[in-house]
């Protein structure tokens, strides 16, 4: 798994030169990965400011706006789910074991036109 970091929180706005440039660059890279047959999936994530952190303590679900600021926690895995809205996603996040001893960050995946 590649963790794709970026220097800005938000994605560039569609229609801007920056957006087009990013799409082209990723398009080229994904084309190469696709041809080699190694690509499973790749998608950008929405701004971290749109995420919600879910913790379950004593059977109570505690929500925090934004990503976890707990430095003792580290990314340990992922799950991709398709839900109608945030409430549904939060409900499923709360049953993940990570929510009990650490936290689950719920963050939207951005649907972009496939560039490949």
């Amino acid at each position: 798994m590649f963790l794709l970091n970026r220097t800005t929180d938000a994605l560039p706005e569609p229609g801007t030169a920056e957006f087009d440039q990013t799409m082209q660059a990723y398009g080229a890279a994904l084309e190469a990965l696709g041809k080699a047959g190694v690509l499973i999936d790749c998608a950008p994530l929405a701004a971290r400011s749109s995420s919600t952190t879910v913790r379950v303590r004593d059977d109570e679900t505690i929500l925090t706006d934004g990503p976890s600021a707990e430095i003792k926690e580290q990314l340990g895995g992922y799950a991709i789910v398709e839900c109608a809205d945030l409430d549904e996603a939060l409900k499923w996040a709360a049953i993940m074991p990570a929510a009990r001893d650490a936290s689950v960050e719920v963050r939207p995946i951005v649907a972009v036109q496939a560039a490949v």
Binding site: S49, A84, P108
Partner: protein
Amino acid sequence: MSGALDELIRRHWWAAVATVCRLTSDLGAAEDAVQEACVVALEQWPSTGVPDNALGWLIGVARHKALDRLRREAVRGTKEAASMREASESGAGQDASPRAADTLSLVFLCCHPALDVSARVALTLRSVCGLSTGQIAAAFLVPEATMAKRLVRAKAKIRDARIPFRVPGSGELPHRLGAVLRVVYLVFTEGHMASRGDALVRGDLCDTAISLARGIAGLLPGEPEAMGLLALLLLTDARRAARSDDLGELVLLEDQDRRLWDAVMIAEGEAILEAALRKGRPGPYQLHAAIAACHSTASSAGRTDWRQIALLYAELIRYEPTGVVEANRAVALAMAEGPAAGLVILDALAHHPQLQCWAQLHIARAELLKRLGRHSEAIDVYSSALDLEPAPAARSFIARRIRELSS
């Protein structure tokens, strides 16, 4: 006339934004469109007269404005346009008449627990109560640009994270209603704390919180806690005129001139509290309101039913197991059974690490020590309260007490 029009618009803002939000699926777009519709109304209504169905008129114009914006932005392909396009496809044939479910959905949206608490409060004041960004910024003593940023960020999160616009199901309702009532309570306490800011703005905030609580209690007639909160706010705000003296200094409850209390508000608060209690589902807001009612019904501070207040605090601990509630119970117990009974509890609390920095606890302990005649101990405890740098009003009160005890 302008004041009357403002009032008319303010009265319809909540329902108008709610309905247009359902039709556009975008809170920011709905708010902007209703704002524009209000500007048109302010221009036209003085000459054409107020339409019979003012709310329907505002919704109609706002919906038109929102669709206009959609057409303008469709070419740009922005995120906002994408969500509005989705909305117009699914909602073109939707009913534009206002519904109670819309107004409730809007409150639950703005008070969603996935939003930061300060954002929930600001968003509710803007989207539900119709306050301007400038007014909200002034009320919370932050620059307008900071408040504008907070609101934009909250609306972006609602859109990007897909926070739903709907009334939660019965399973979630108690928890989600708790979050809503907390926001209303925070708006009220912000207005009630006369410690900072312009007194006039803050009184407005109390009025806003009360009308919000009234609206929510009206929309959820089966929820005694919503009624309990409304009763609590009415009973507390009824004392507004007596809470500060001519110099603007805070007057403690026991020293207040009870003739200045608003008897009509007290009567309404009591009636609402009784109706809530009859439903047989007690909760923290009903208990807080019952405590406020104990004070309101006492003809003088000396006739306060402290035994009843101590019992109510004991009950409240079940919902709010905090040192603050326990300390309040101790003070009530000291009034009912003598200072020694209260001091035992406060002494135990004073060792609690989280409460050591709470000046009010030290002040309460010192007061009881003073009443027991243990003056030198009282002076020591007052001094430790001073070390915590309390608010100016409390500081001058403590200094006065130390002077009295030292002489």
